[in-house]
């Protein structure tokens, strides 16, 4: 049944949605986070559950209770506002990031203006003078909403592919 509702690569609004995701990635990588925030809906839920190690076949392999972050629009706005206070040391100098978005799959919902969108991400992050950076791999499950002809992000759940996160912080966005 699910396959019947998956939007083909050549069918609207697949390419519009991919373009939205690319534009969003570009805003994040250019540090234009206020503009990035404009792409969110008022009822945004933006969260990252934590991966855990369980036996093969034991589901889920993320925790229902422990999250890495869980933000609504006001708290996400606070994270972004903090960066321009002049005291966000973890991002001063700023990280250099590259969000590569791929494997996009779009599925219709019962609401004709809303679509489930899954994508894979590889996010490279480098700071300071270190030649070594972090490479975060993950999967995003989004709810995109068409608001007056513009795509907006209403919900995002990110699962990173690490149980122990290999970086001193997650001061960037996904």
């Amino acid at each position: 049944m699910e396959e019947a509702k998956t939007i083909g690569l050549n069918d609207p609004p697949y390419s519009e949605i991919v373009d939205f995701l690319y534009k969003e990635a570009e805003l994040m990588d250019e540090g234009r986070l206020s503009d990035w925030l404009e792409l969110m809906t008022e009822d945004l839920l933006y969260r990252m559950p934590m991966r855990v190690n369980r036996g093969r076949g034991e589901q889920p392999d993320y925790s229902h209770e422990t999250e890495i972050f869980c933000d609504d629009l006001p708290s996400l706005r606070l994270r972004i506002d903090r960066l321009s206070t002049g005291y966000a040391w973890a991002e001063d100098p700023p990280s250099r990031t590259r969000h590569v978005v791929s494997n996009v799959r779009v599925t219709a919902t019962s609401n004709p203006d809303e679509f489930d969108v899954r994508s894979y991400i590889l996010v490279y992050r480098n700071r300071g003078n270190s030649p070594e950076g972090d490479l975060f791999s993950g999967k995003r499950q989004d709810l995109l909403r068409n608001v007056n002809g513009h795509w907006r992000l209403a919900k995002r759940t990110i699962l990173l592919d690490q149980a122990v996160i290999g970086s001193r912080n997650l001061s960037i966005f996904f």
């Binding site: 422990t66 890495i68 606070l78």
Partner: protein, 429 residues
Amino acid sequence: MAGTRDLRKLVRPQDGEVSRLIFSDPEIYQQELERIFSRCWLYVAHESEIPHPGDFVTRTMGEDPVIVTRGEDQKVHVLLNTCRHRGRTVCRVDFGNAPEFRCPYHGWTYKNTGELIGVPAYKQAYPGGLDLGRLGLYEAPQVDAYKGLIFASWDVKTTSLSDYLGGMKWYLDLFVDRTDGGMEVVGPPQRWLVDTNWKLGSGNFIGDAYHVHMTHQYRIELGGTPVSPQGYQVHTENGHGLGLTHPAPGTTSEPYFGLPKEFWPQLERHLTKGQLQVLKPLRNAHGTVFPNLSFLHPAGTRSREEQFTSFFTLRQWQPKGPDKIEIWSWCLIEKDMPERWQEASRRAYLQTFGVAGTTEQDDTETWADITQANRGPVARSSFFHYGMGLGTVEPLKDWPGPGTAYPTSWIEANERAMFERWLELMTQA
């Protein structure tokens, strides 16, 4: 190997000087694993993580992997997670419920209380038999809990947990034994890797209220409450200590960390008058149970629009090398609080602490930077300055709790006491 006399020259808390070398030297690190992490009581789990018989979590004590299990008799066992045969780990998942653990290498099987109960093809493989009773998983000889906090020690000769915690128990009660339901963990801990030394984490949480005004100034820029030295710093025996921060002059904080009034009768039942006196006005509490268990209990609002709330986080700076740690961070909430209160508390924690926390980000950045900057021989031969209040601030004579208390939270007495304890353990015969 740095000799006893050398360490006493390198670490001089009485002069407010601690050598930078001890934060990066590999030999000193190995000594710490043997003299501190193999001897002290180390935190391993919260009771609420293994509530039922058969429950287990996999943890670490220093660099030794352990399984913390609850037996049928409700007793907690801490088992070294390595097969007695040839060392493969017998449990490879983070948590679960299991009556036994089977080694994937040759199949030796252990009860969840540690006994060796199965050896595949026993008669053929070992016709002469095996002394099965002596081949159970190595078990920590000392396991005990205080108000939900489970600790273990490898040292058969160590003092009881109660004596080890000493006066610190009085202060831990302010957070973990003030309501009938007590605290429970929200879920499994976050874990992340930071290139720094464990003592920078322990040392910061034990007494560094002073860094908040600069490292975390972003909070004030966004409308958060200002900081001041109003408050106290207290250290007890065995290297433990905490800071108790009051609202800055001209600001207020809700009493008892914003716990709803209907719970105040419980506080009055669980805590003494002296404890209530200390708890009531606090805006923040931060501390360390030596060597590497720290906690934080801040209060405030998550964002300008939100209700007043508070949260309690436990964290461990797990040593992975002289310049590497894994931070393990738990969020605990009052079991009996209304759901809305619990959720606000949990979200306040996630906003500020943990690997993505806006406050914690700047701390790990600081510690990683310090470690990077002090690799070279010239930097390593110099000293960190731990002189705040040395010789100029006298302890209080009329303090309601145990330990030595100072009338300010901006002082480095706790750090000095922690390094005195460190030195004592590192130079002991």
